[in-house]
Every structure is written in C-alpha cells, then in structure tokens.
Subunit: 383 residues, 2 copies
C-alpha cells in the first residue's frame, strides 16, 4: 500500500494572539498550503482539531468557515475533538482519510483561542473533561499531576530538582523556537522558588494558557513525489484510552494510553523505542515528560528522571526530547498542540529546524488528552 | 479490498429524556453491541458524533467516559463534530477507520441532550454555527429556510400545501416508529394553521428539539461473516461543503453539498439515484426534503414537490422517503440524527422495519449540517 506522506506544515506564533480561532486556523492553513505548494481547491478533506471553540468563543462550525477562508469548498470537513489530544486524533483522522483511499489531499489544521478568557474560565472548560464526581471533590488535572509527582518522587527516589530540570531544558530549547510563547531561559532556582500550584509542583512545572494554530498537509507518497522531494512519511499511528476515572488506575505512575497507543504505532511502523531519534512529548506538567518517556519504552520504569539529570534528553543528548520547547515553553493551545508536535518533527526530519536541529531520521510524537485519558502516538520518518 | 459492513445498530427512544448525554450514549452503545453480538472489549475504535455536549451540559471528553461505560478501554476514541451532520461525518470516520485497516471493529455512537435547555438556549447553541455577520442580522437557520421556501414555491410554481404534505407524510410514518418523539398523525389543516415561524413556514414545518442517541457497529465484511449473515454493506460514502456564508450561493434552491457528496457516494458505490430503493433525508425543515430529493438526483429540479403530491415518496410509493418519520416526527438530537438515519436503513435492508417495512435492497441517507454548509451522504446495501 502507498504510504501516507506529509508534504507541508506550519505553525503560527503561539501566545497571546489578537485573533479569533477562525483567523488563527486560516493563518496556519494558508502557510501549510504554501509550504506544500498546494491550493485550497486541491484539498479533498479538511479536518480541524479543536476542543472547545463553542465554549471559548461561542462559535461552532469552524471547519466550514475555514473551508471558505482557504477557498477549499466543496472539500469535506469535520472537527476532531479528543480534548488536549485533539491534534494527535486529527493526525490519525487525516492518516485514515488518505490510507482508506477516501482522499488524495487532506489538510489538518489544529487550533485553540483561549487567552481572552481568564485563567479560571479557561481551566473550567478544560476541567469539564474530567469525571464529574472527581471534579466535584476538587481533583482537577493539576491536582492529579501533583499527587502523581509526589508518588513518583517517592517511589523512584527521584529528587524534586529533576522535575525542575524538565522545565529548564524545555525553556532552553524554546529560546530557539521563533513561534514559542515563552522565549526565555529559566534557571532551576526560578522553577523551585515559583509559587506552589499543586504540591510538589510549582508554577514553572505547568504549561501556560495559549492561543495558536498549526497545520499539516497529507497525501499518498506517490502523490507527494509529484510535488516535492522534501516530505516525511507517517510510518506509525496509534491511539488508545485509559480509565476516565483516574483513581481506578492500578499504577498512577504508568500511563496506560501511552503504553497501548505506542505499541500500535511501533508495530505499524515496524519500529521500537530504540529507533527513535527525537521525540515531542506532552509536557503539560513536567511530571508527564518522565511518565511518557518511560511508558514509550525510551527508559526503564522509574529511570526517566535520571535521563533528564544526565542530559540524555538534551538537544545534544542521545535522545533529544521536546526540541521545540515543548508545551512548557512553546505553549499549549489545546487543539493545536498535537499538530505542532508533528510540525517540529517535520522540521527536524527535513533538516529545517535551524538552531534547534538535531540528527534525526525517525521521530515520535505523543499527544495526551485529560490526565492520560486518551493518547495518540505518531511516528514520522524520512522517506 | 474488503468492503465495510455494519453488523449491529440501535437507537434509543427519542424525545424528552431524563438522562444525560453520557447515559444516552451508553444506552444506544450497549444495545448496538448486543445487536452485533460483540463486547465492548472487542472494539478497536469508538467514535462519538456529538455537536455540543460542552455547551449543552458543561461536559466534554464524553468519548472517554463512554469507553469506560461500555468496558471498551483501551479502545481508541474521538469525537466527530460536523454540527447537525455530525452523525453522517461519524459514519464517514468509522468507515475510514475500517477501510484504512486501522480498526477491525469500530463502533459509532451519536447523541445529543438538549431538552433540559430552553428552546431559545438550544437554538442559540445551534445558531453559533452560522456566519457571525449573517447571525447578527437575524438570519438564523429557520429564517434561511423561510426565504428558501418562498423562493422555491415561487420559482417552481409549487403550492404551499406541498410543503405541508411533507410533514403529514413523515408524521404518518413516525406513527409506526416506536422510537419516534412524536407518534401522532397530523392533517394538512393542522400544519397550515399552525403558528408562523418564518413565513411561509409554520411550526409544523420544523423538527423539534430532542434528546436521543443511536449507534452502529462497523467491521470488514470478512469479519462480519464470522458473526452473522444479517449485515449490511456501506457501499458509498461522501462528504462535501457549501459556502459558510449562505447568501454567497448562486442558487439558494440548490444544496451544493448534497450534489457533491452524493456524487462521491454514488461513484464509490457504482450506483446512481435510479438504484435507490429507500432514502432518509434531513427534513429539519420541510423545504429541505424537496431540495435534497432533487439534488440527490431522485427528481428533476423543481419537481420534488410533485413527487410528494403524487405519493411517490409515500411508504407504498416508488421511492419511500423518511420511512422512519424523519427528523420531523422522529426528532433531531443533532449528533444522533445521521446515525439514526442509517439505523432506519439497516432495519429496512434487513427486513426488520415492522409496520414501516418497504421493499429495499439499496438505501441512501443524506445528513445536512448548517443550512447545507456541510453534508454527508451514505449508501447502504444488502450484501
């Protein structure tokens, strides 16, 4: 079967944007079309990854509006929502549209507009994905993160500083990402002295509220070759869920959705963790980078923190993680984040990552919704 | 390539339900699993068609909750939103998941919970899909319907009564549908004397606000045969958009998305309008049944009203339309409607439609979002 290729990609400036969701999506979509050398009218399918434009802005039907803005009518459109992992779910949908033969040219645009709402309002929308009973008892995503971090540190004898070093590393990477929300280095003391949010996690252990969009153009590899030599291949995609009620999980330090979705993706790609040269992980909270790096098989259980301490995941380490700056520094516009992860891999695999460039032929992105409730893993490769 | 089969289907009672979206989805999902003879743990993918659980109920992440309720964890889940045509878009997504080889067992559950909100609140959520400028000028979906009806009646010399006869026919069909919201016959005078909503359309030209859910189980035909002989095949699926700004359309009496999406579905199925034995059309407003019946190629442009007048689309006519009662009598829980259309066809093709049974080997469903902004067409057949 023809493999599925990505021939164009883009992301907008992430941060506090004076633009509505529709404008952000059109900005990323237009850039990705130009990167691919494709017109909107060439698109068969156009997917939008977005969690909550209705809740955030009172605007629904944005895929249809985007089809207008990109001159893509009558392309088929739909919105894919999988909360914070909507972007990864969108990649899976776009892959399926091409792999099934339904489309020869599909664009995915992910985005979210959030900063016009207060942090309380924005987090209330996000918290609506949790189990209503857990939520009523005050167990929100940050408090799950705090409890999980405490258990992890205790169980695996990890120092609190190791979590802080995730933030330091990712901020350092983000310094070289022109689209990142926070292009500033932070030192370990700044992280460790920042206000407590959910003990032991502090402000700098959390990603920000962000506006932004990112886009990818997919087609069969045979079609890709007609357009360009500079494309990447989606060699593996997988998605999986974990329990909706977080406290039902046997081991809070294991993310079952990461384990399951990566096994599917590895099998499809005929790859294993040892083949991955660069990875974008969902560091919504610093602790999540440890958990994912272990559940993806990069490191033994309880050893992820050591890899960070030893610099293995630094840009010049053996397995660079979050060269983009991650959600921590780049920002986390919910529906865009998974798409932006793939954009970073696309740039790395094509050698277009500038100061962030690492040596990589195979990249992996792990996009997490809820507190690991739903996860998509994508493997991209040079052709 | 292995065709995609549907081996199980269900719908809940539609109407004013004392249950939340999560309960409605689980009710339909559980019934469809039992109909298919499959366990939740057999599912690879689980899609939810839903427009606005966040806006209606403050609850997001429902696919993940549903995976829990159906014992389907770690099945991959995602929500598919295409406003009123979310159900049709969900069918397309489910088809793609199987046709691409990503899943060997996919369930789609569509649903919406609306009646706990006032009609004004519910229609405000629906209206959020329109273009903000048109909306600000008071041009909502019902007013588009009124203007389109006026133009249609004028342009094609159709009597006002012909629109009323759509309502009469569909209510008559709904009388025999145990799941319909309104199981009551209405006569033409009742329709024509009901309160004006958007001149010339009156209350009985409109579908109601509804709670409900419906579900379908998809797998490759080779897998279907291991379970049952009673299955149907998805022979054609297509989706398309029309302009987001309704007034930009050249001919308001033509729904471009219906034309385009049906052409794709006909081509895939190697079928034409003359092959269709029974159809479920999106009669959110009575005028839409005329437009779709013409744009699908069943009747010449401007002749759809005559077919209704002549009884061609009656249950005992040459081409029965909306044997289920349609959205008009059955109800319109946004995300469920497209799925429930396919459920009706499934029952008709398997000979399980009871008093509503017609003679049919090939059926077509047309699910419309917005005012034709986005459309999905599905063709189902006996194997």
């Amino acid at each position: 079967m023809d493999r599925v290729a990505i021939i164009g990609a883009s992301m907008t400036q992430f941060g506090d944007r004076d633009a509505w969701i529709r404008e952000l999506l059109a900005e990323a979509g237009d850039s990705a079309l130009r990167d691919a050398g494709v017109d909107g009218s060439d698109l068969d399918h156009l997917y939008v990854s977005n969690m909550a434009s209705g809740e955030f802005e009172g605007q629904t039907g944005v895929p249809n509006a985007l089809a207008h803005d990109l001159n893509a009518v009558p392309a088929y459109t739909a919105r894919i929502d999988q909360t914070s992992s909507s972007g990864g779910a969108g990649i899976f949908a776009a892959w399926q549209s091409v792999a099934s033969g339904a489309s020869e040219m599909t664009m995915l645009v992910g985005g979210e507009k959030m900063t016009h709402r207060t942090t309380g309002e924005a987090t209330d929308v996000i918290a609506s994905l949790t189990h209503p009973v857990e939520y009523k008892h005050g167990v929100t995503l940050p408090s799950f993160a705090g409890m999980t971090a405490r258990k992890y540190l205790d169980e695996y004898d990890a120092p609190r500083e190791s979590l802080g070093k995730v933030a330091v590393k990712n901020h350092k990477n983000g310094l070289d990402n022109p689209h990142a929300q926070f292009r500033k280095e932070v030192d370990l003391d700044t992280v460790l002295d920042s206000p407590i949010v959910a003990d032991p996690l502090r402000l700098y252990d959390f990603c920000p509220i962000t506006d932004g969009s990112a886009a990818l153009v997919f087609c069969p590899e045979s079609v890709a070759r007609e357009y360009t030599d500079d494309y990447v291949v989606v060699s593996g995609v997988g998605g999986a869920t974990d329990t909706h009620v977080v406290h039902e999980r046997d081991d809070p330090t294991t993310m079952g959705g990461v384990v399951e979705s990566s096994q599917i993706a590895y099998e499809m790609a005929d790859r294993g963790p040892e083949d991955i040269d660069v990875a974008e992980l969902h560091d919504m909270f610093t602790i999540l980078e440890f958990l994912q790096s272990e559940d993806l098989g990069f490191f033994e259980k309880g050893e992820g923190w050591k890899a960070v301490e030893e610099g293995v995941t630094d840009r010049d380490g053996d397995l660079p993680i979050n060269t983009s700056g991650g959600l921590k520094s780049k920002g986390h516009p919910l529906g865009a984040s998974g798409v932006a992860q793939a954009y970073e891999l696309y740039q790395q695999l094509l050698g277009d990552a500038g100061a962030r460039q690492v040596d990589a032929e195979v990249g992996l992105a792990c996009n997490v919704g809820g507190f690991g409730n739903c996860v998509s893993t994508t493997i991209l490769e040079q052709p």
